[in-house]
């Protein structure tokens, strides 16, 4: 199937289409689910445990990364019952720093790679970028696909790049960023999801966070349908990561509802669903404390890292 553009195209364009109006409507309806009391408390802890705590700035420093790692392990210093987050996500040159800070904590180190965020570089650079990040201690690699090649119809090129990066990543988990904000149509989101899964992605991820729109509920819905159908077809389970623009507890819970009612409860696990975010964590902590005490504390009672 992966041998040529023609065969890939025949398969991916043979997938059932996505009706935009219907998909938007379904995501909006699921957004009206009312998650309260015990369900909300469970959802908050689950969401915290699914966060990929992220800093991807040109101004990132080892000090900033170490501070973030401390927060990742113990998100609320005054409340030991708060679960740790799933991973921290940094640029490749800061992987070593994050790895040493997180050593033995159970929090994974994820590194963006392959010329993140645009991916406009050669395959040699992409694989080297990946291999170096893994060598420095990355447990997970968040690669970007070549959206230009995808939109130009060069599906084989996208496929082969993912295969090559997967090989360079070795044992590290490969998350493939589709950058759905640049794929423009929901049909393309479905096709890119299948393309990435066929090429060996362990996770498919919505966005880099550098392009607007980033993760949206309908796009995540379509990707969740894709992993659900892929497992039904092949038996292999692939994870989903929604990244970018998820800032509030309310939003995060909407994503958990999407997972629950689309892919199902098997995916309600940090091993299979992640939320890439930075400011979300403090809102989750704030809502968690509100549920426990009945009161909101001021923002100064939550650490800014």
């Amino acid at each position: 199937m992966a041998s040529s553009n023609a065969t890939l195209r025949a398969f991916l364009y043979g997938l059932p289409g996505v009706d935009r109006v219907g998909a938007d409507q379904r995501a909006a309806t699921l957004g009206t689910r009312s998650i309260k009391t015990t369900a909300k408390a469970e959802a908050i802890d689950l969401a915290i445990s699914m966060v990929d705590l992220t800093t991807l700035e040109g101004a990132d420093t080892p000090g900033k990364v170490r501070a973030m790692c401390a927060k990742a392990v113990r998100p609320d210093p005054g409340e030991p019952s708060v679960p740790r987050v799933a991973a921290v996500c940094v640029y490749p040159d800061l992987v070593a720093c994050a790895a040493s800070a997180l050593s033995g904590s159970g929090v994974k180190v994820a590194s963006v790679a392959t010329g993140f965020p645009s991916g406009r570089t050669s395959l040699e650079v992409k694989t080297a970028d990946t291999a170096l990040a893994v060598a420095a201690g990355a447990d997970e690699i968040d690669m970007v696909i070549d959206r230009g090649a995808f939109l130009a119809g060069d599906l084989a090129r996208v496929f082969e790049e993912i295969v090559a990066v997967k090989q360079a990543a070795g044992d590290a988990h490969l998350k493939v960023i589709l950058e759905t904000g640049e794929l423009a149509t929901y049909d393309n989101v479905r096709r890119a999801s299948w393309l990435a899964m066929l090429a060996g992605a362990d996770f498919i991820k919505t966005s880099t966070g550098k392009v607007s729109p980033a993760a949206t509920p309908p796009v995540t819905l379509i990707m969740l349908e894709a992993v659900r159908d892929f497992r039904a077809a092949t038996g292999r389970m692939v994870g989903v990561k929604a990244a970018g623009g998820i800032r509030t507890t309310k939003d995060a819970i909407k994503y958990l509802v999407l997972v629950n009612e689309t892919a199902g409860e098997d995916w309600l696990d940090p091993a299979w669903f992640r939320i890439g975010a930075s400011s979300l964590l403090n809102d989750l902590l704030m809502q968690r404390q509100k549920m426990a005490t009945g009161r909101y504390a001021g923002p100064d009672y939550f650490t800014l890292d």
Binding site: G22, R26, S34, K40, E42, E225, V257, N260
Partner: protein
């Protein structure tokens, strides 16, 4: 991880149900002369209120009040009538939460639907026809079309307030006055609407609400002072009405039953088609005259589609209508539940294969789990008769021509759905299908600007849109 949604009930405190209600005649609540009856919450069988029943004398008083009010109401400039309608629409929006809770209590429909579908559409209908009131001369029915007089309107229990809006808004906009009888099992929101008429300062007699059972409806329809009869309900009763008004000069519109085909082609957007099928037949527990109760699926994708549909039905949440996460509420009455049961039993006897979603049913109240039948033939009762419940009959077809043939092979013709990614096929199908509404890649979508009505035994006349004005104008 298993993610259980905790109960999230909408508060009942927003509604104030009185122990008993009278009739609304000439702007006042008065006692009825018939034997009062009880209205219950179908989800718990608890009694909600006692409601007066109107007898022939009450009907006569209401029609007389409407006749008297007609002179001055029809003489008002359209822009003045519009003010009242806009005011009613705004009050409905302001009281939307209360009305939604009341509707769910009395009808059994999930609060998600009464809140997100019924009430927004009710307000939209009044806004829409308020806009027409001063533009009737531009509606295509002459320079100065005249109203008919007194409209006698009888509405069903499936969308109590929405059907009231469909009837009252165009009637008032055109300058008619109305006497409306809500269904016996769902009178409460119509009575709340009577309060809204008072709140809006509507002149007495313009709107009269008479509660009661079939006899009240018959008395209203047969009253000689009624100039126009509008009915939404069963084809059986529709026939009786057509017979009784024949030769009287009363203008009549009937919106009756349906057995709509929801047609899914092999190139359809599958996930959205599944949503559309669910929305087509399980929306409002299938108590929808235009429900997509016959699924016609192209044989080449039948298995795949049914698997996806069954998986999706497994996620439907049946239970307390006031819980904000409920998808399927209660069946409106014991009588309707018995009818659904008898028709599904006939489906099994006739050899169709029954599949029912595994969901626990509450102990009290009237409930029926989402059910589908496969291996259904055109000749089965479940493929021909309107079940009016959460029961889907699945049939297959091989070619577009066969789909059209099967879809049209019914005495009804209210609505149809077509699911395909091919635009040209949608247009071809819409041309061939004998149904008043054809939805393409969606189902059960309503808009006040869009006319609604049936072919054949699904009734005649159109409600909604510019077409809906015709039924209330002397043209």
């Amino acid at each position: 991880m298993r993610f259980e949604y905790a109960p999230a009930p909408e508060s009942r405190d927003v509604v104030d149900i009185k122990p008993s209600y009278g009739l609304f005649i000439n702007g006042d609540f008065v006692d009825g002369s018939g034997t009062a009856f009880k209205t219950i919450n179908p989800a718990s069988e608890e009694m909600l209120a006692e409601v007066a029943a109107a007898d022939e004398a009450d009907v006569d008083r209401a029609v007389t009040a409407a006749r008297k009010a007609f002179e001055s109401w029809a003489a008002l400039p359209g822009r003045e009538r519009a003010k009242y309608l806009f005011r009613i629409a705004r009050i409905i929006q302001e009281r939307a939460r209360e009305l939604a809770v009341l509707e769910s209590l009395d009808n059994g429909k999930p609060i998600r639907e009464s809140r997100d579908v019924d009430l927004p559409l009710v307000a939209a209908h009044f806004f829409y026809y308020a806009g027409w009131a001063d533009k009737l001369g531009h509606a295509g029915f002459g320079a100065d079309p005249r109203p008919l007089g007194v409209a006698g309107q009888v509405i069903p229990w499936n969308f109590p307030l929405l059907m009231l809006a469909w009837k009252i808004a165009p009637a008032l906009a055109c300058g008619n006055t109305v006497v409306l009888k809500p269904a016996e099992t769902t009178p409460l929101t119509a009575l709340a609407f009577a309060e809204i008429c008072v709140q809006a300062g509507l002149p007495p007699g313009v709107v009269n609400i008479l509660t009661g059972a079939g006899a009240t409806g018959a008395a209203l329809v047969n009253h000689p002072g009624v100039d126009k009869v509008a009915f939404t309900g069963s084809t059986e009763v529709g026939r009786l009405i057509a017979r009784s008004v024949a030769g009287t000069g009363k203008k009549v519109t009937l919106e009756l039953g349906g057995k709509a085909a929801n047609i899914v082609f092999d190139d359809a957007a599958l996930d959205q088609a599944v949503e559309g099928i669910v929305n087509g037949i399980f929306f409002n527990q299938g108590h929808v005259c235009c429900a997509g109760s016959r699924l016609l699926v192209q044989e080449s994708i039948a298995e795949e589609l049914l698997d996806a549909l069954k998986r999706r039905l497994g996620t439907l949440r049946l239970g307390d209508p006031l819980d904000k996460n409920t998808d399927i509420g209660a069946i409106n009455s014991a009588e309707q539940l018995a009818r659904i049961r008898s028709l599904t039993e006939s489906g099994e006897l006739e050899g169709a294969e029954r599949w029912t979603a595994s969901c626990p049913l509450p102990d009290k109240g009237f409930w029926f789990p989402p059910t589908l039948f496969t291996g259904v033939a055109q000749s089965h009762r479940i493929a021909r008769e309107e079940i009016f419940g959460p029961v889907l009959s699945v049939l297959t077809f091989r070619t577009p021509a066969e789909a059209v043939e099967k879809a049209n092979n019914t005495p009804y013709g209210l609505s149809a759905g077509v699911w395909t990614e091919k635009g040209s096929r949608i247009l071809w199908m819409a041309d061939k299908l004998r149904a008043g509404v054809v939805w393409a890649n969606t189902f059960n979508r309503f808009d006040p600007a869009s006319p609604f009505g049936g072919y054949k035994e699904s009734g005649h006349g159109r409600e909604g849109g510019r077409h809906g004005l015709e039924a209330y104008l002397d043209v």
